[in-house]
Symmetry: C2
């Protein structure tokens, strides 16, 4: 019985390791994917609210805003562990070394981004185009602030 | 004035085209990214509910389930247009040609997947581990069904 319990604990420990101790290239792949799919959803809102409001479709805009908020809330920032400073996911990482030297500033930026993303999901569900437009702008500013300071240029 | 209106209409048309008439490789990149980031979130639930329930963390499981549901609801299936049957996003597409020949069956599978993903978000928010486990299993079956029939092996 003791052996069985020990074995179960070992299996649990190994499994925990499998997810928690992910390879740096896998973490980079996942975060690049998360941000890329979020960009498609940002594009959806830009298309239907900013560029072509005549094509406004509440259901699509709400779905896109929910995806953006869910990505912000997913803990995607935990994929930026120190072992991922350099490396390649499905493309070379563009994160600057400054990112890893300013954890407090990064934390602040993540908080800003999450707050604005959750607010966008809220206003999208309310359905007032002017508010969605203004909140989308606020969200984009938090994206840009981080890109300007912590991401290398293309 | 007429010229101005015409110009505005042209700009709107061009912008609409930019998002709607995306290049096949961009569509493939976006869908690969969406499914990949969703996999990370599936892994989070597997880790904290199935493999290591002693590490169950309601907030993290809810966040992961919301991301999965938001991806399902995002319209990711629209990224599988006929022009994306072959091609490369950030890796070669693995979708089989059968996928494009059976639109009704695909639609059914998408409906199944979305229903189970939304139900997972619901039970995750209720917080009963046994229900999350059973619903996660149901969701995985809808993933597997599609992969088995419509995706080439690794």
């Amino acid at each position: 019985m003791k052996t069985k319990i020990l074995l179960a604990l070992c299996i649990a420990a190994v499994s925990a390791t499998a997810f928690a101790e992910m390879k740096p290239e896998d973490k980079i792949t996942y975060r690049q994917s998360g941000f890329t799919f979020m960009r498609w959803n940002m594009g959806m809102i830009k298309d239907r609210v900013i560029d072509n409001p005549q094509n406004y479709d509440k259901e699509k805009v709400v779905a896109a805003a929910n995806l953006i908020a869910a990505t912000a809330n997913s803990g995607i920032e935990t994929l930026f562990s120190p072992d991922t400073e350099k490396g390649k996911g499905w493309k070379d990482t563009r994160v600057k070394s400054e990112f890893f030297k300013q954890p407090d500033e990064v934390k602040k930026r993540v908080t800003d981004f999450n707050r604005e993303a959750n607010e966008l999901a809220k206003v999208a569900s309310d359905g007032d185009i002017a508010s969605i437009k203004s909140q989308f702008d606020k969200l984009q500013k938090t994206c840009k602030a981080c890109h300007d300071d912590f991401r290398t240029k293309d």
